[in-house]
Symmetry: C2
Subunit: 312 residues, 2 copies
């Protein structure tokens, strides 16, 4: 059975986009619950400024209070050297750096040209060298909601530059759910061939309902690392109407149905997912938490037994 490494991003990518601040106690309790489920990584929080992302202003406190589980990596989003220093003080296992492969999206999201972002992130990679693992998440790799197509060559140009800096991994993000399975197959083949030594993660959104189809295509092309968000939380403010990340429990349910080894305790994960609407105060897109996994059967209506007897 192929081993799939699944990363949970709900407390960062999900909660960052929530309209209301999720209380620190709830964040810590949820992360501790998720830590017991068998994830490869949990993206705990973001060491950005409290002004830029007020919903994650409790980064230090969350990192200080969560239970550390052997074998589970904590990863944190880091925008610059100052953020990296804070992350190191908090003993994060991995720094996750972000920039966009689309110039317009990078300007909209990070308020600087891509070349400036790259320069700043290079400093972080150099500072982290020998101290902590670094992953780089590249946004809009399957299209930009403002520019449209982002050519594969442009994605690879940025991926190459970070690979040359010696990062441990790259996450290729479909930030606003523009990828389709044909494009994912092509990208997955290219990535596997070009970066055999890197941790290569794919990050899908379900904006147009294709999230799990894209996951299927990527898995079939041999990609083994994926991000997902509990309940399907998340989104992107630059793509109105966009729903969130692929739902972790729906994705893991499908991967397990396909016979893949995710290392995840699905019943435990579903229990966590079922508490999520209470934490965020609204319904969430995830479906398996509502319908139950395939294996969960339902009783037949009482009249079925009567009918069986009548027709016996």
């Amino acid at each position: 059975m192929q081993r799939i490494h699944f990363n949970e991003v709900v407390t960062r990518d999900g909660f960052q986009n929530e309209p209301a601040f999720v209380p620190t106690d709830d964040k810590v309790a949820l992360i501790d619950e998720l830590s017991a489920c068998g994830y490869a990584k949990i993206e705990v929080t973001s060491f950005t400024s409290a002004k830029a992302i007020p919903m994650l202003r409790d980064a230090e406190e969350v990192m200080g209070r969560i239970r550390r589980v052997p074998g589970l990596e904590t990863t944190v989003l880091v925008p610059n050297v100052r953020g990296a220093e804070r992350a190191l003080e908090c003993r994060a296992d991995e720094l996750n750096l972000v920039m966009s492969t689309s110039e317009t999206h990078n300007l909209a999201n990070l308020r600087m040209p891509r070349e400036h972002s790259f320069g700043g992130l290079r400093e972080v990679v150099q500072m982290a060298h020998g101290r902590v693992a670094v992953n780089v998440s590249l946004s809009c790799c399957f299209g930009c909601p403002m520019e449209g197509d982002v050519p594969e060559a442009e994605v690879l140009r940025w991926a190459d530059r970070f690979a040359e800096l010696g990062v441990r991994g790259l996450t290729i993000c479909d930030t606003t759910g523009m990828a389709h399975p044909g494009q994912v197959r092509q990208m997955a083949r290219t990535l596997r061939q070009r970066y055999p030594g890197l941790q290569m993660t794919l990050h899908f959104h379900n904006t147009r309902g294709m999230g799990l189809a894209n996951l299927l295509a990527a898995v079939e092309e041999g990609i083994t690392r994926f991000d997902g968000s509990l309940g399907g939380l998340g989104g992107c403010p630059y793509a109105p109407g966009a729903t969130g990340n692929i739902c972790s429990e729906d994705a893991i349910h499908m991967l397990q149905a396909l016979g893949l080894d995710t290392g995840i305790d699905l019943p435990r994960l579903l229990a966590a997912a079922r508490r999520l609407p209470d934490i965020v105060g609204h319904d969430v897109p995830g479906q398996v938490a509502k319908a139950g996994p395939i294996q969960q059967l339902h009783p037949a209506p009482a009249y079925v037994q009567e009918l069986r007897e009548r027709f016996a």
Copy 2:
């Protein structure tokens, strides 16, 4: 480009499961809108008793008032010879007969054993011979929410019996969204090999989020006919928490992104989908109608231009 034949089932499978009766005028207007979109078939209504399915008690009136479009087939659900006579009086192009491959589901849904259902439907096929095309929809072909696994051999046993009766087509239904893509691939290969002369349709539900992944798997295995429901309406009362059929516009959007020829005017279809919540009085699961198709770009925030100039 491979030609995909897509069937719309919202006014039957969707409206049948709505809590409130959809007014006849709305049904007729919606079908006329959908008839202009390029579907292969529209399942207009059901000729069951008004007591059994009160939401479709206006079957004759709907069939009498809709505009007939050359090249578009109207299909109607028919439970027995009496229903078939009503359908023929209304000039339906196809009769769609239904039974389940699961004994328990057949008892729950049709209140008789499968063998009784088969006997009744055989009479309908014989009566329709030479007068109107017949399709048979087999429920629970990928699992039963009460029995669990339904072996492929059991599905094929019933499919064979109808194929021997000379039906034009079979629809293999994942009635409560239990199929996963590995299972769909296997089933699709078997069906293509075993029934080369029949119209072979797959009918998926998105209960556990795998609807479009299953569609992808089936398309990649050469299946070319699919059912879907506008907005993703539909469901099954025997699987609590179940969401509906795969959403037609989301499915067609993905098929077109994959470069397949669906024959569907997607912008027109999305316009119809966007009016659906007003017709049924609630939000619907479909996502492309909310987020827009991949090709629909969004303007960059105003500060992006300022940033471009500042960094120029």
